[in-house]
């Protein structure tokens, strides 16, 4: 199958650009709950372009997807929302407590996969109640596997703030899960 055929070309492009696009959207969104819709919107546009104009239209897939992502973020949010987001991020000045990161980032306790799936769902539901910024930190740390310093730079936060929010929220989530009889 030729690499220039639309579907394999798109799938390869999607695979290669997804982490960076997810980060771009995470940084730019007001609410992480909107990330799936934004991602879908971005890649629908990319796929439509590929179908209409062929893979040869895209010389630099990463730059191309990034440009569309920025345009889509522009369409989704007004200046007000973006300013709000920036102000919020820059207004943080909280000192964090030191902690042992590897312990915090440990893999959930081994157990039945179905139980872990259920636990993941419960944690996801619980996490929805946290501020957008906290969810962004979690997404960057655990889905994009970014180091704390990188998260701090990406989200415009103090590294200690990232640590603190991550630590406290993990503690709260862990406490909640223990009440439910699970270990996070």
């Amino acid at each position: 199958m030729s690499a220039q055929e639309p579907i394999p070309f798109f799938e390869a492009l999607y695979r290669d650009t997804y982490p960076q696009t997810l980060l771009t959207v995470t940084r730019g969104c007001s609410d992480p709950a909107e990330i799936p819709d934004l991602l879908q919107d971005i890649y629908a546009d990319v796929y439509a372009d590929i179908l209409l104009y062929g893979p040869g239209h895209i010389r630099d897939p990463a730059a191309y997807v990034r440009a569309i992502a920025r345009r889509k973020l522009g369409a989704w949010y007004g200046l007000r929302a973006r300013l709000q987001s920036f102000v919020l991020l820059r207004s943080e000045n909280e000192d964090g407590d030191g902690y042992d990161l590897p312990a915090l980032a440990s893999v959930p306790a081994a157990g039945d996969t179905a139980e872990l799936h259920l636990l993941a769902q419960q944690v996801g539901e619980r996490l929805k109640g946290y501020p957008a910024q906290v969810r962004k930190i979690f997404l960057c740390r655990f889905v994009l596997d970014m180091p704390l310093g990188e998260i701090a730079r990406a989200l415009g936060l103090n590294e200690n703030t990232v640590k603190t929010k991550l630590y406290r929220t993990l503690q709260e989530l862990r406490g909640h899960c223990q009440k439910e009889g699970a270990d996070l």
């Binding site: 990330i35 919107d41 191309y64 990034r66 345009r71």
Partner: protein, 426 residues
């Protein structure tokens, strides 16, 4: 299950599933492509050796340096052929030309060749052309051919261009968030100069208004600081704006104006809500009615007081289910105010009633408005079943100075208000 797999599943609870997003994007992308296709599918022409083009360019009487923006090609059609990787000498008949070349070969192409430079970039608007509808069901489009280069001759790569430069059209009086912003750009770099075609909706029916191509160095709202829209909808570039903010007026003759078509186009941007959306609206409105009565009482109490005290009514920003927690945090003491309290305390800077609109490229009908801060598109879900929500807060020195409120109206519209708030005493 690895740590990353576990947390990926956690976020799947919010719908963030890489495979599902890809599948949905492909499904929607295919539908988008079908919708955009107003004629038979345009395959990307096979890449051809550049030698013939370069040789043609070498003898071109109008060839100029890359830093100047005229480009290497004699006619708009030749530039278009370069962009689409086509060698015109390979075609026996103009009828066989690829679509883009044919568009710029038409006798009514408007050759512009206007050069403007700003912030280290030189941009030339080469031509404007009309792409007629392929058939009765299709839609006409307007194309603009332009080049972008760095003024100091430093090569501009496709990636840099994609990151830094954004072009779009504005129709006088239609705002800059209207559906016609939907565009398609095809481009190609040669010798550090970007040659590009911008395809937008049919601008010709609007030719009795001012039509603009704006070229800016930032995406979305940030770029809008470079322009000012007057009360009559005319756009001007802000003179002391530090980044690129060029403004071309498109010279499409007023004789092309077609008021009926223009009205139809504008009407086409509106959309009747579906039964499901109407049901959601009804639910929102029922709550709105009850809460409006409460707000009216609060407003009556607050009337005449320059700075009403935070009220204890339940319908405060802090208790509003549709306002993001982070916004509530930012609102500080203002979060203890109701909508009526905020209105009484603040000064209205902007207000607009928005109707549900079908915007190309948007997954569902949505609302949009254009304020002095730029455009914003939003859906009913932003109200999340509540009759109103605070959706933005401007801050200065750590204090909230402005707030944006969305309120559902009985007729299915949504009112946007931007209020300036005075400093609150500690």
């Amino acid at each position: 299950m690895t740590k990353q797999e576990f947390w990926t599943r956690v976020f799947a609870a919010e719908g963030l599933d890489e495979a599902a997003v890809r599948a949905d994007a492909m499904q929607r992308g295919a539908a988008l492509a079908a919708a955009r296709q107003t004629e038979k599918k345009r395959p990307m022409p096979a890449r051809r050796p550049l030698a013939a083009l370069v040789a043609a360019a070498a003898v071109c009487l109008f060839a100029v340096g890359a830093g100047a923006a005229g480009g290497l090609f004699k006619t708009p059609a030749e530039t278009a052929a370069f962009i689409t990787h086509d060698d015109l000498s390979a075609f026996e008949d103009e009828e066989e030309y690829p679509t883009l070349v044919k568009i710029y070969s038409a006798p009514d192409v408007i050759t512009v060749n206007e050069v403007q430079a700003d912030a280290g970039y030189t941009v030339t608007l080469l031509a404007v052309a009309n792409e007629p509808a392929a058939d009765e069901a299709g839609a006409a489009h307007t194309h603009m051919l332009y080049t972008v280069a760095r003024s100091d001759g430093t090569p501009l790569t496709e990636a840099e261009w994609g990151h830094e430069i954004d072009c779009e059209v504005v129709i006088q009086g239609c705002g800059t968030a209207a559906p016609y912003r939907q565009s398609m750009t095809t481009y190609r770099e040669q010798d550090g100069v970007i040659y590009a075609d911008l395809r937008v909706c049919d601008l010709y029916p609007f030719a009795d208004r001012e039509l603009y191509l704006i070229v800016r160095q930032a995406w979305g709202f940030a770029g809008r600081f470079g322009y000012h829209a007057g009360d009559d909808g005319r756009i001007t570039a802000v003179a002391d704006y530090e980044n690129l903010n060029l403004l071309f007026t498109l010279p499409i003759g007023a004789e092309h104006a077609d008021a009926a078509s223009a009205t139809r186009a504008e009407e086409g941007w509106h959309y009747e809500p579906t039964a499901e959306e109407q049901a959601l609206l009804a639910q929102v409105l029922a709550q709105a009615k009850a809460r409006d009565e409460l707000n009216a009482a609060v407003a009556a109490q607050a009337a005449g007081q320059p700075l009403p005290e935070p009220d204890s009514a339940q319908d405060t920003v802090a208790n509003n289910p549709a306002t993001l927690a982070s916004l509530k945090e930012d609102m500080g003491a203002w979060a203890n105010y109701t909508r009526a309290g905020l209105r009484a305390a603040g000064e209205t800077l902007f207000t607009k009633v928005c109707a549900l609109t079908l915007l190309p490229g948007q997954p569902a009908p949505c609302y949009w408005y254009e304020s002095r801060y730029g455009s914003r598109i939003f859906g009913l879900k932003e109200l999340d079943g509540a009759p109103w929500a605070v959706v933005g807060a401007g801050m200065e020195g750590g204090a909230v100075t402005e707030v944006t409120i969305l309120s559902a109206n009985a007729d299915g519209t949504v009112t946007v208000e931007i209020l300036a708030l005075p400093p609150l005493e500690p």
